[in-house]
């Protein structure tokens, strides 16, 4: 009983969070960001089924997202012209089924091998589909894409989905269901075997499983959920273009999943939330946000190979041993100069790129022409960098101290 409560309570919390979010942030911008997050979460989680759980690095996952989205928009158009009549709440399912269909076909030959061969086939297929989407205009609509209207379907308990907030609750329901099913998938024998095949395909074959078949099942499931995300995209934006199935979108989902943390179920959710926030908030402040995103990505791969989720989970041992408190002071000691250093770096980057004469940054007004400003910033950056370097050994020692066990040593500092 107690374990059941322990198992269910995160899900209830997740559901409550999804339902209550618009109560706290009810602006139009917030709701549109939540909708983007919902799409991103499902998409990133589906990607994690491939890379995180199945060990298949895909450079073409947007294909299933995009194809699902395109069919979903076409379904919306069919509803509009009354060829079909069903409530639009089932649209993500339509997208999912088409994503599944595409994944069944492509997976039938691409999952034979994992590793580089799989990655290359996914890249090739991704480029093929993206290029043909510009050729087959009747289905993909060329560069302009296709658009539909979500308000024509029969109302769902009186809701006609005119407003974004109504779409949000629909998306939240789908996100919850999709997350739950993707989690449950990891608990099934197929999901468990996906982990085994990821770690050691040879041994998995020896106990009688076909590695290819296991990969195929994961691949098909990932295609389905990517299609669901595509369907949500179609509902939210009511249009879809070639951009949504090309390499850029495939790259973005890889970024989300990786920054969030591949080895953990919750990782891609974190990545999706962080990246969507960066995408929609940071882009208001600076046009260089893609540069910062690139820097963040490369730094994450270098210093936090297990992503944000991995960074949080690293503290589990210290937490269970009650030593988290001893880490707080060293963290502050290193964190403050490090943050200052990063902030000054951002200031330098922005200052060198600013149009016009002055940059308003954190309440300061910095002038591009003044050599003194540049000199001061550079000196401050150097000082902050030295301070970070000086305090880093203390943090490392505290870390080792907090994780030190009598018989085995803990995980190393990143």
């Amino acid at each position: 009983m107690k374990t059941l409560v322990k198992k269910i309570s995160p899900w209830i919390g997740y559901l409550l969070l999804l339902l209550l979010l618009p109560q706290f942030f009810d602006s139009v911008l917030a709701v549109s960001i939540f909708n983007q997050m919902a799409i991103a979460i499902v998409f990133a989680l589906s990607y994690n089924m491939l890379l995180g759980q199945g060990g298949m690095l895909s450079f073409g996952h947007a294909v299933y997202f995009g194809l699902g989205g395109f069919l979903a928009v076409h379904a919306l158009i069919l509803i509009e012209f009354e060829t079909l009549t069903f409530s639009i709440i089932y649209i993500p399912l339509v997208g999912g089924l088409f994503g599944l269909l595409a994944a069944l076909f492509i997976g039938s030959f691409s999952t034979r091998k994992a590793g580089t061969v799989f990655a290359m086939i996914s890249l090739g297929v991704g480029e093929l589909i993206a290029a043909s989407s510009l050729i087959f205009v009747s289905f993909f609509g060329g560069e302009a894409g296709v658009s539909g209207d979500r308000t024509y379907g029969p109302p769902f308990f009186g809701v006609e989905f005119f407003q974004n907030i109504e779409i949000y609750y629909l998306a939240a329901a789908w996100v919850f269901i999709a997350t739950l099913f993707m989690y449950l998938f990891t608990q099934t024998p197929a999901g468990r075997m996906a982990n085994a095949v990821r770690d050691n395909p040879e041994r998995a074959e020896f106990i009688g499983y076909s590695a290819r078949w296991v990969r195929f099942i994961s691949f098909a499931a990932a295609g389905f959920f990517a299609g669901v995300a595509g369907g949500l995209f179609a509902l939210n934006y009511e249009f879809i273009t070639e951009e949504n199935l090309n390499a850029v979108t495939s790259g973005r989902v890889l970024l989300m999943a990786y920054i969030g943390g591949l080895g953990y179920f919750i990782g891609p959710i974190i990545g999706a939330v962080v990246l969507t926030l960066m995408n929609s908030l940071l882009s208001n402040y600076t046009e260089l946000w893609m540069l910062y995103l690139g820097i963040l990505f490369v730094l994450t791969v270098m210093f936090l190979p297990r992503g944000f989720a991995g960074f949080i989970m690293m503290h589990q041992l210290a937490w269970t041993r009650g030593k988290l408190k001893s880490l707080a002071l060293p963290y502050v000691k290193t964190g403050v100069p490090a943050t200052v250093f990063l902030a000054i770096c951002v200031a330098l980057i922005e200052l060198s790129h600013v149009e016009g004469e002055a940059l308003h940054y954190l309440g300061l007004e910095l002038s591009q022409d003044s050599g003194l400003t540049w000199a001061l910033l550079l000196i401050a950056a150097t000082a902050a960098f030295i301070a970070t370097r000086k305090t880093l050994p203390q943090l490392r020692n505290a870390w080792i101290e907090a994780n030190h066990m009598e018989d085995s040593s803990g995980e190393a500092d990143p």
Binding site: G55, T116, M120, V125, E127, A131, L254, L291, V298, V301
Partner: protein, 316 residues
Amino acid sequence: MIEVLIFATLNGLVTGLLLFMLASGLTLIFSMMGVLNFAHASFYMLGAYFAYSISLYLGFWGGLLFAPLIVGVLGALIERYGLRKVHDSGHVAELVFTFGLAFLIEEAVQFFWGPDTKNYQTPDLLDFPLFTLFGQEFSAYRGFMITISVGIFVALYYVLTRSRIGIIIQAAITHPNTVANLGHNVPLIFMLVFGVGTALAGVAGVIAGPVLTTFPGMALVLGSIVFVIVVIGGLGSLAGAFIASLLIGLLQSYAIASDVGMADLLNLLGLEFARDHPLDDLWTLTLPQIAPLLPYLLLVLVLIFRPSGLMGKREQ
């Protein structure tokens, strides 16, 4: 007809040899470190941009001399301080790192040089037609591109098979531990190979920049094609990369120059479809239209039927 064929062949050769300059470095790096460098085409782009900036002061030839050096040093530094750190986290992390690097370099190029196309020109010295055939001119610059590419191929082949350092590199690929035991600094060799590989990509960028236009998307245009070549040729095989580069270059060039399409095929079969048929797009396809698709089609086919590539070793 014959002049179309000849010019398509010449253009295919130029493209193919240019692609080989990128592919040779990529395949060399792969055979050493077992990592496919996603950012390889980004170094090609950097080569073009550095050469452009240098050419403003020192002219084209100064750019040709210095830009590849800068790119090579940058590549070596990235290997030393970036890739080597990531190496411990496994192959996927390495691949993802180079992927992120490609992303970052594209953004950095836009940061330093801006998002617009740069007016990077061919040198005046080579601004004349090399020969005129059937009334069409073949520019001396294209001849220069062919010369440089062939020269690099010969030099690379010579260094790798005949020189002492080449033999050490080859040994380090297959038996890194033995080579280390013999007193060679294997990580340093890796760094050098990475640097030389990226410098080669830089050379390709320098000479391709004026012809293929220098803009922030130029890495993306060639990046995945180079990948395709290395995989089709067989990972780690220099000869395979050479064949695949020429194959892809010629294939695309012929496809663009041709004017056959599905309509001709249908005529041949005696079939006809109404214009408003739902599959109209399919029946009106032409070969030039699907030319950009062909490399990827070839890639998928090769990977399905011969996963080790044309000249690759059999996988265990």
